[in-house]
Symmetry: C2
Subunit: 391 residues, 2 copies
């Protein structure tokens, strides 16, 4: 096990009706003037934004609003938000929505204190030292951004999708999480969220670091709970407990609970980011296409952890042949994504029958370097093989 | 799943040599004048206290010291500490040790701000509203106090062992956790620590709250990781990775990671506290005696969760008869405590061949009421039956 620091200071307030505590929580964390950030019209139509405004007003908190955050959130909206924040001078950013909204809020939170262009932080040209505090009202379980110190933004001009990881300044102060708010999510969004959170766990699980039994077991436990409750949920979208399990799993999948003292992978995410950036697909759906392909490739090159996953999570009996079991596990996961979540599991099902794999692969290595390290060393030939396995 | 708040703001700094960061961490959390609290002479003899003093001095931090904390820590030492703290006026309490030392430090931290006797907090006569911050250097993985908002103290005069739970003010600011410091622990202490952390998980696991799949799976994952690495450790006490897994498991067993949205039990702890209070046994050893007895009793009254534990963790095949499987699971756990951990599993093995069960049971119900609620309703006849099952 490697040395590690685990710091997850977010106060998670979870359950029915908890959004009514938003104003009180803002006050608790020192905010009297907040900037609400949200996405499309559903938060308005559902009455949620109205309840949040009422809760803020009830605590004597002033606010301004920035709507219209796009899925796969864009740098242009972040710049609009930073301009507004510099005019309004809020003491907290309050995203009401899912990962895209939260990631936009975090980008505004770091950009507010910076004279240059916030994008510098995302391409490593500058390092943020402080951020406005962020409080979250979560509506879509998927990205885990409510408990993480990460944010991912897409640059409209360069089509680069890049991330920033700053746990010490970007973990939200609080996250208000009411599973009832997710009861009306369309099946597609529920399912791609589940695919996303499973990918967050698997990226951490795929590791060559020895002696990390506890991280492995926690990851396997999360995957088992997700798969069990997802099956309930896809059959009965109104099941509150299943919604609650999925919502909480989305958070701990990404707050480092299962990444203790280990090298992580994240190459499937890197490969999917290029699909999203070129074709603007839903992130979780892209992951459902890439991950089984990645695991299939791994089954012949480095089957260990994939075989363990197959045995402990995916119902594959131990045949004594790790490669074969790992391959069977990859097939089982692909089938599960398809049969239970109704996710696309090939480029064609994702609506891209003829992807430009050459450009995709070229862009991947231009951003990430000649060889991607991690669970396996992946040169351009290797990543091309994985992209092709997803055809 | 019930509504819940999850708040674990402690910064855990984990791995080799991390105690050298103690001074830096104190400064980070605003301390310039700390009170070191420790137990017996081993922290001095091992050189650890010397390294901590050097780290504090290197960061320009002043300190005073309180040594001599007893296992099953006593109110008398807490009062001594409060008197010292009121003279010295530290801005942080820094326990260097295991659960007894940390619990004593927390008691001093709340008592410092109180005009009355600190024991009032432990018997519900008063509620603390603030506490001095606590930073921890952990040397014994067991109690999980480094990540919890709890403290348990024994009153010398009344022999009452009572707890205080105040997560919002008593969670440590940071915990320095170097598994190497545990390499020299005597087998007995290692094993009773493991028994203690397993009990912390099981107390949370035993719940009738429906729809808590994620909490169940996390708890099962922790137990599997503990049992796997404990077997390694008992055979090879020098195994760093096994020590690291056990140390981290001890923390998350008790920081509420696996108690999300559920009613917990804690009756085995209550029953063990009376054994400790009357006979001053090691807490973890007392739990190894009580828990299998408790699970045996449960196997006929409310077998559900015990049977699930048997199937998923204890290697019992599903026979279709939940009661029988639960009983077999209780037997398997008892055998594992005995064969692997070399723990006592009966009163006689605990060195109490003729326990005064009548007094023990009377004391239990005097403190906890006529009927203990939780996973099962336990009146005096029921708890007596459990005590007798431990004979």
């Amino acid at each position: 096990m490697n040395n590690f620091t685990f710091y997850s200071p977010t106060e998670f307030v979870f359950g029915k009706d908890v959004e009514s505590k938003t104003g009180e929580l803002c006050l608790k964390y020192g905010a009297k003037r907040v900037m609400i950030v949200y996405g499309g019209g559903s938060a308005e139509r559902s009455g949620l934004l109205g309840r949040i405004r009422a809760s803020l007003a009830g605590s004597g908190i002033e606010y301004c609003e920035l709507g219209g955050v796009h899925p796969n959130p864009l740098d242009t909206k972040v710049r609009e938000g930073i301009t507004l924040a510099k005019e309004y001078n809020p003491d907290m950013i309050l995203p009401v929505g899912g990962g895209s909204t939260i990631d936009t809020a975090k980008a505004i939170a770091v950009g507010y204190h910076y004279e240059g262009d916030f994008w510098d932080f995302y391409i490593g040209k500058a390092k943020p030292v402080k951020a406005l505090p962020v409080g979250v009202v979560l509506t879509i379980p998927a990205a885990g951004s409510e408990g993480s110190g990460n944010t991912v933004i897409t640059n409209v001009e360069t089509k680069v999708k890049a991330g920033l990881r700053q746990p010490m300044i970007l973990r939200p102060k609080f996250a208000v999480m009411n599973p009832e708010l997710t009861l009306t999510l369309p099946e597609w969004q529920t399912a791609s969220g589940i695919s996303d959170m499973m990918a967050h766990i698997l990226e951490r699980y795929l590791s060559n670091t020895p002696g990390v039994q506890i991280g492995d077991r926690l990851a396997e436990g999360m995957l088992l709970a997700i798969m069990e409750t997802a099956e309930t949920l896809m059959a009965n979208p109104d099941d509150y407990d299943a919604r609650a399990n999925i919502m909480w799993c989305g958070t701990i999948a990404h707050n480092d609970t299962c990444s203790l003292g280990r090298q992580e992978d994240w190459n499937s995410h890197a490969m999917e980011h290029e699909i999203s950036a070129m074709y603007d697909v839903t992130h979780g759906a892209g992951l459902a296409v890439i991950f089984p392909a990645f695991l299939k490739y791994a089954s012949s090159k480095n089957p260990g952890k994939v075989a363990q996953l197959a045995h402990r999570v995916l119902g594959i009996a131990d045949s004594g042949d790790a490669s074969a079991d790992a391959y069977a596990g990859a097939e089982a996961l692909k089938k599960w994504f398809h049969d239970v979540l109704h996710m696309p599991v090939t480029f064609a099902q994702l609506g891209i029958p003829n992807p430009n794999l050459d450009e995709m692969n070229m862009r991947l290595h231009r951003l990430k370097g000649e060889v991607l390290g991690g669970y396996m060393q992946l040169d351009a030939a290797a990543t091309m093989e994985i992209y092709k396995l997803a055809m």
